[in-house]
């Protein structure tokens, strides 16, 4: 398929995991891909792997000023965006009793405030027909222990897909959500657990997935591309859950 030939696509948090898989999938279908991330080394590596005319820009999705810088940088290169995947996020888990303000601020600062103002800053770069996909999470729909802040932040993000869709429809811009369940990504290494705890947690989660396995970043990317392509033009403000059935049990 070549659904993104001649299109420009921005993937925030595009240097690893689901973001990187989406960037590769977009590029494979002809898109010029712009990825952002905080880790310069990972960005450089990802850009090299993406090849072609891919662009990598260092950016902290939790800082509103940097969201505006990103839009300005793209504008200065006369880049218009056909699709945006708001994927950069923070996933910090802690028992309710232990959650502190810093964890709250980081989670909501990146997943809600950062995403919100990033989209706002990008608006002048979007033409009619552009599509925005937000990376949600099934945590917004289930009561997984220790996920309270993360889950609430993703619920807020999912809500934005609806209100922003309503406001952006006159511009011909659609906003939808892909909500992954458990996916094998480097994210799991970032949760701050030791190897044994991580393994036990993974096995426990896997047991709750009807398909009996973790999903792959590529499987989430395929849905992102579907929601970004013209073929989904009548899908607006909607959410596609990619979780092997986990949230349905």
């Amino acid at each position: 398929m070549n659904r993104f030939e001649g299109k420009s696509v921005l993937v925030t948090g595009g240097s690893s995991g689901i973001g990187l898989a989406a960037a590769h999938a977009f590029a494979a279908e002809g898109a010029r891909v712009i990825i952002t991330g905080r880790d310069s080394a990972a960005l450089a590596e990802a850009r090299a792997a993406l090849g072609g005319n891919a662009i990598a820009l260092r950016n902290n999705a939790g800082v509103v000023a940097e969201a505006r810088d990103l839009a300005a940088a793209l504008a200065s290169q006369q880049i218009r965006l056909d699709a945006v995947f708001i994927n950069a996020g923070s996933a910090k888990f802690a028992p309710f009793a232990d959650v502190d303000e810093a964890l709250w601020d980081q989670s909501f600062g990146t997943n809600v405030k950062g995403a919100y103002f990033q989209i706002q800053a990008l608006l002048p770069l979007l033409d009619a027909g552009a599509s925005i996909v937000l990376n949600g999470s099934i945590n917004a729909h289930i009561g997984m222990p220790n996920s309270s802040v993360y889950a609430a932040s993703k619920a807020a993000l999912i809500s934005l897909a609806k209100t922003l869709s309503a406001e952006l429809l006159p511009r011909g811009v659609r906003v939808n959500v892909v909500s992954p369940g458990p996916i094998s990504t480097p994210l799991y290494g970032k949760l701050g657990m030791d190897a044994a705890t991580l393994e036990a947690t993974a096995a426990q989660i896997q047991g709750q997935v009807p398909l009996g396995r973790f999903g792959t970043p590529q499987e989430v990317a395929a849905t992102v591309l579907h929601l970004s392509a013209a073929e989904s033009a009548f899908i607006v403000g909607s959410e596609i859950i990619v979780d092997g059935g986990m949230s349905q049990l």
Binding site: L169, L211, H226, F234, I235, V236, S238, G244, G245, S247
Partner: protein, 250 residues
């Protein structure tokens, strides 16, 4: 477009017109071989004629368990397997509380729920690892629908069935999902409108309920069905894909 659908064996129930026909055509364009069922032979023949040599029409009433059995016997004879079932055959008519008859309720649930249950069950022996079942739901399943309560309830049942079946079929590697359309411009609206003079006002009203300010096209629903049927959706099961121009979402 979806290379993973090349040479797949697909059954589309209710494929003579509208969403079913558009989806059958999309599957054929993607390289699949498609069986379509329909209740009325002339409409079915006309549909198959437009679909070409990679389509076979099997006359079957979606409420008749006997007809359903015959469909699967035929597919088993021809191919011994089925890769995708799109259970799309459905029945709808208006029925306001106070005027709901037994016939209205029975026909709605017999087609949309009972017939669908036995269609999916009948397909199981033919479906292998990697198979995909897609059910046609409706956005009215999750919202109030004036003079449409029985249809809405029957589609809520369909949504529920997909959840349970997704879990029950996990060991067989068969995924079950729902595509829930909003207002789609199909020939079936003529029947819903009753008098021909009512059709234009009905369409106008339906379009006014959609944030995108138009009805969807059958092929826009077909794209969603093909996505769920393909390998692209390999980690999606028990889920619902809403194709409604934002009607139930905003």
């Amino acid at each position: 477009m979806n290379t993973s659908l090349q040479d797949k064996i697909v059954l589309v129930t209710g494929g003579s017109a509208g969403i079913g026909l558009a989806t059958a055509r999309a599957f054929i364009d993607a390289g699949a071989f498609v069986y379509v069922t329909g209740r009325r032979q002339p409409e079915l023949d006309a549909a198959v004629a437009t679909l070409g040599p990679r389509a076979v029409g099997l006359r079957a009433d979606a409420v008749s368990l006997d007809d359903i059995r015959k469909v699967f016997s035929r597919i088993a004879e021809d191919h011994r397997r089925l890769d995708v079932l799109y259970a799309n055959a459905g029945f709808y008519e208006f029925g306001r509380l106070g005027d709901i008859t037994e016939e209205h309720l029975d026909r709605s649930f017999d087609t949309n729920v009972r017939g669908l249950v036995f269609a999916v069950q009948g397909a199981l022996p033919l479906m292998r690892e990697g198979g995909s079942v897609i059910l046609t739901g409706s956005i009215v399943a999750t919202r109030g629908a004036e003079a449409f309560s029985i249809y809405a309830a029957s589609k809520a049942a369909v949504r529920s069935l997909a959840r349970s079946w997704a879990v029950e079929l996990k060991d067989r590697g068969v995924r079950v999902n729902v595509v829930s359309p909003g207002p789609i411009d199909t020939p079936g609206l003529g029947g819903l409108a009753g008098e021909p003079a009512n059709l234009a006002p009905l369409k106008q009203h339906l379009a006014s309920t959609v944030p995108m300010a138009r009805m969807g096209r059958p092929d826009e629903v077909a794209h969603a069905v093909l996505f769920l049927a393909s390998d692209q959706a390999s980690f999606i099961t028990g889920a619902e894909l809403t194709v409604d121009g934002g009607a139930s979402q905003l």
